[in-house]
Amino acid sequence: MLQTEQEFIRILRSRLEGTLPEEELNDIVSDYAEHFRIGKADGRSEEELFCSLGSPDDVAREIRATHLVKKAEDVKSCKNIFHAMLATLGLGLFNLVFVLIPFILLVVLLLVVFLFGIVFAIAGPAAFIYSVLQILGIPAFAIWQSPVAGVFFSIGITTFGLLLVIGDYYLARFFYRIGIRYLKWNISVITGTEDEA
C-alpha cells in the first residue's frame, strides 16, 4: 500500500462517506491535509507522516463511532442506537465483551419485561371475564377460589401488566441515556488495533 497523503485521505473519505455530512467530512479531511502540509514543510516525508498518524482505517472507525453515538444522542431511535453500538463494536475486539454482550442482555431484559406486561395486560381481562362467568354460575369457568376476589385480582393483574409496559418504556429510556454515556466513554478509552503498542 502506498503510504502517501493522498492515500490516507482517500481511505478516510471512503470510510466516512455516507455516514458523516459532507461539511463535517471536509472539516476532518482538512485537518489531516493541514497536518501533512505542515509536516512536509517541517522536512518530514509523506511516508513518515503517514506512519506516525497510524492506520487511516482506525482513525475513520473512531470518527464514525463518535459521530453515530452523537447522532443517537440527538435523535433517539432504535436504529440510531443500534448503529452507534455496531460502530463502537468495531473499535476493538474488547468490545465484543464490553459492548455487544451488555447490549444483548439489556435488549433481552427489555423484551422480557415487555412480554410479561403484555401477557398480564391480556390475561387480566380474560381472567376478569372468567370471574364474571363464574359468578354467573357457569362451572366450566370456575378457576377462582372466590370469584368476587377474582374480579379484583384480574383488575390488579391488568393494571400491573400496563404498569410493566409503561415501566419498560421508561427503563428503555433510562438504558438509552446510560448507554450513550457508556459508549462515549468507551470510545475515549478503547483504541483500535493494538499493533502499534
Binding site: 377460589q145 385480582f153 438509552y176
Partner: protein, 281 residues
C-alpha cells in the same frame, strides 16, 4: 428501545411531561399503581375473610382454585358374581397408583383425588357371561383448565386379588405405580406416554400371564419375582437397560429358574426414551 421523533433536550423531563389525551403520564402511572395495590389488597382481603388466606400448611399461595383441599371421591365396582374381570384404565394427566386389596365382592375400588369437577373420570361397567368389565376414563379437560396448571389429579385404584384379570392401563403424563404382586393376571397391557412408571410384580403367585408394555418418555422399572418362570423381550429404542438379576441373551431377559418347557410368563417390552430397570427380586 424507545422510538420517538421528538428531540428532547432532557429526556427525563420530557418523559414526565408526556401527555396522553390531556392527562399527564405521571398521573396515569400513579392511578395504575394505586389500582394495582388496592385490587390485590381487596382480593386477598376477600380470601382472608372467607378463610382461604393465609394458606393452610400444604396449600399453595394462590387465589386460583386448585389450592382448595383435595376431596377424595370413591367408587366401588361390584363383581356381581362374575369369575373373570376386564379392567381398562385411561388417565390422560395425573398420577396413578394401582394395587390389589379390593373387597372380595368388588372388582375394583377407585378413589379420585381431584379438585375440578370437570376432571372426574367416566366409569362404564358391564357384564358379559362370566366376565365383568369396567372402563375408567378421564374425559379430558383440554382448554378448560388452562389456568390451573398444577392441579393434582391422583387416582388410587385397588383391584380384586382372586379373579383372573385382563388389565389394560393407558397413562399419559404423570408418575405411575402399578403394584400388581397380589393380583391374578391373565393379560396385562401397559401404555405410558410421559413420566416415570414402576411395575411391581414382586411376590406374584397368580396364573400364567402375557404382558405387553409400551413405554413413551420416562424411566420404567419392572420387578419380577426371581422364582417365577418369566421371559422378557425388550425392544430397545433409545436409552439404557439396567439388568439386575436376569440372564440376558441378546434382547431376551429370563429369570434364573427359567425353563421354556413349562408355562412361561411372557413380557414384551417396547422401550421408548428413558432408562429401563429390570429387577429380579
Amino acid at each position: 428501545m424507545s422510538t420517538d421523533d421528538q428531540k428532547p433536550r432532557h429526556p427525563l423531563c420530557m418523559a414526565c411531561n408526556l401527555q396522553i389525551g390531556g392527562i399527564s403520564a405521571t398521573r396515569i402511572i400513579l392511578w395504575l399503581v394505586a389500582l394495582t395495590i388496592i385490587s390485590f389488597f381487596i382480593g386477598f382481603g376477600i380470601l382472608a375473610l372467607s378463610g382461604d388466606f393465609p394458606p393452610q400448611p400444604g396449600q399453595a399461595v394462590s387465589p386460583f382454585r386448585h389450592t382448595t383441599i383435595l376431596t377424595p371421591n370413591t367408587t366401588v365396582i361390584p363383581l356381581d358374581g362374575a369369575t373373570e374381570g376386564d379392567v381398562r384404565i385411561t388417565l390422560g394427566a395425573g398420577d396413578l397408583s394401582l394395587q390389589g386389596g379390593a373387597p372380595a365382592t368388588a372388582l375394583m375400588e377407585s378413589t379420585v383425588f381431584s379438585t375440578a369437577a370437570v376432571w372426574q373420570p367416566e366409569l362404564v361397567q358391564g357384564i358379559n357371561g362370566s366376565v365383568k368389565s369396567v372402563t375408567m376414563t378421564e374425559k379430558g379437560h383440554k382448554g378448560k383448565e388452562w389456568f390451573a396448571v398444577d392441579s393434582p389429579n391422583n387416582w388410587a385404584i385397588s383391584l380384586n386379588d382372586q379373579v383372573p384379570l385382563r388389565l389394560s392401563v393407558n397413562v399419559g403424563a404423570g408418575d405411575n405405580l402399578l403394584d400388581l404382586g397380589t393380583l391374578n393376571l391373565e393379560t396385562l397391557k401397559v401404555q405410558t406416554a410421559a413420566g416415570d412408571t414402576i411395575i411391581d410384580l414382586g411376590g406374584y403367585h397368580g396364573e400364567r400371564y402375557d404382558a405387553v408394555i409400551n413405554c413413551g418418555v420416562g424411566d420404567l422399572t419392572l420387578r419380577v419375582p426371581r422364582d417365577s418362570n418369566t421371559r422378557i423381550r425388550v425392544h430397545n429404542a433409545l436409552g439404557d437397560i439396567d439388568n439386575r438379576g436376569f440372564v440376558q441373551d441378546d434382547d431376551q431377559f429370563v429369570t434364573a429358574v427359567f425353563n421354556s418347557s413349562q408355562a412361561v410368563n411372557e413380557i414384551t417390552l417396547n422401550q421408548g426414551i428413558g432408562s429401563l430397570t429390570l429387577e429380579s427380586i
